[in-house]
């Protein structure tokens, strides 16, 4: 029995107008900086043009472009990741002696002002938070955003980025600690 299959086609002329915003949004939640996101989208279009002959028409044009973009993002992440060792350790705590596992004195959290709750929907607060997220080291920012903003499963992130679950949680902890401190300096105790 012949399979009735509708094959998708590519129209690269329309890529920029049809997909650049979508691909940008997809990227910006995974990398921490708008310039890098734009570069990755551009690279994706160029790579797509190069490999048009490999397109089999089974997936939609958008899905196909996203699959190229994913590779680009992972390559970008690997580049950042390779400069530092992959194993992450938690740094906010004593790691030997009788204080093992306790807070390091200089890292202890400070009190936040009590009326913090009132401002949670405040527009300026959002801007401050956004700046603080942008200021995270790129690698932390990426994992943190995927987990927190995009809501990916732990397993999925680990697979995509080739890290262990415990590494992921250390990165999340660092990102959160830094974010907390950044908000403390720029918002709560300003």
């Amino acid at each position: 029995m012949p399979e009735p299959e509708v094959l998708h086609t590519l129209s690269p002329n329309k890529w920029v107008s049809a997909y650049s915003d979508y691909l940008y949004n997809y990227t910006i939640s995974r990398v921490s900086n708008s310039e890098i996101a734009k570069d990755l989208v551009q690279e994706t279009f160029f790579a797509g043009l190069k490999s048009m002959k490999n397109f089999q028409g089974k997936a939609s044009e958008r899905t196909w472009l996203v699959s190229i973009l994913k590779r680009k993002i992972i390559d970008h992440y690997r580049k950042i990741n390779s400069t530092k060792g992959k194993a992450e350790v938690r740094m906010n705590f004593y790691n030997d002696g009788e204080n093992e596992g306790d807070w390091l004195e200089e890292r202890v959290p400070n009190t936040w002002s009590e009326d913090a709750d009132k401002h949670i929907e405040n527009e300026e607060l959002k801007v401050t938070l956004e700046d603080c997220i942008e200021n995270l080291p790129e690698k932390y920012g990426m994992v943190f955003k995927m987990k927190t903003i995009q809501g990916f499963e732990t397993e999925e992130i680990c697979k995509e980025l080739d890290i262990t679950a415990s590494n992921l949680w250390v990165i999340i902890h660092r990102a959160r600690t830094q974010l907390r401190r950044c908000m403390e300096d720029n918002w709560f105790n300003k």
Binding site: E121, L125, K126
Partner: protein, 89 residues
């Protein structure tokens, strides 16, 4: 597997982080709450962390192509030109 009742601050904050994503077990939550009895710092850390999660929840609803950070019309037309050049090759 050894299971101790009192955990360190290091472990407590790790549980707290997981809990922000609903990924800590009931036993872990009990241990965390018991830890609060003797540690005000972790209690504060947890309070801040929960607050941060709420802020981020509100933020992520709005985290889309804003006016400043997306491709501008100019950038789009430049990109379009680049793409067309490459198609013509």
């Amino acid at each position: 597997m050894k299971s101790k009742v009192f955990i360190s601050c290091d472990e407590a904050t790790a549980i707290c982080d997981k809990n922000q994503y609903g990924e800590s077990s009931v036993l872990e939550k009990i241990k965390l709450n018991m830890h609060f009895i003797k540690c005000k710092f972790c209690k504060m850390y947890t309070k801040h962390n929960t607050y941060l999660t709420r802020m981020l929840g509100i933020y992520s609803k709005n985290a889309h192509c804003g006016k400043e950070n997306c491709f501008t019309d100019k950038e789009k037309s430049e990109l379009q030109n680049e793409v067309e050049k490459k198609i013509a090759l």
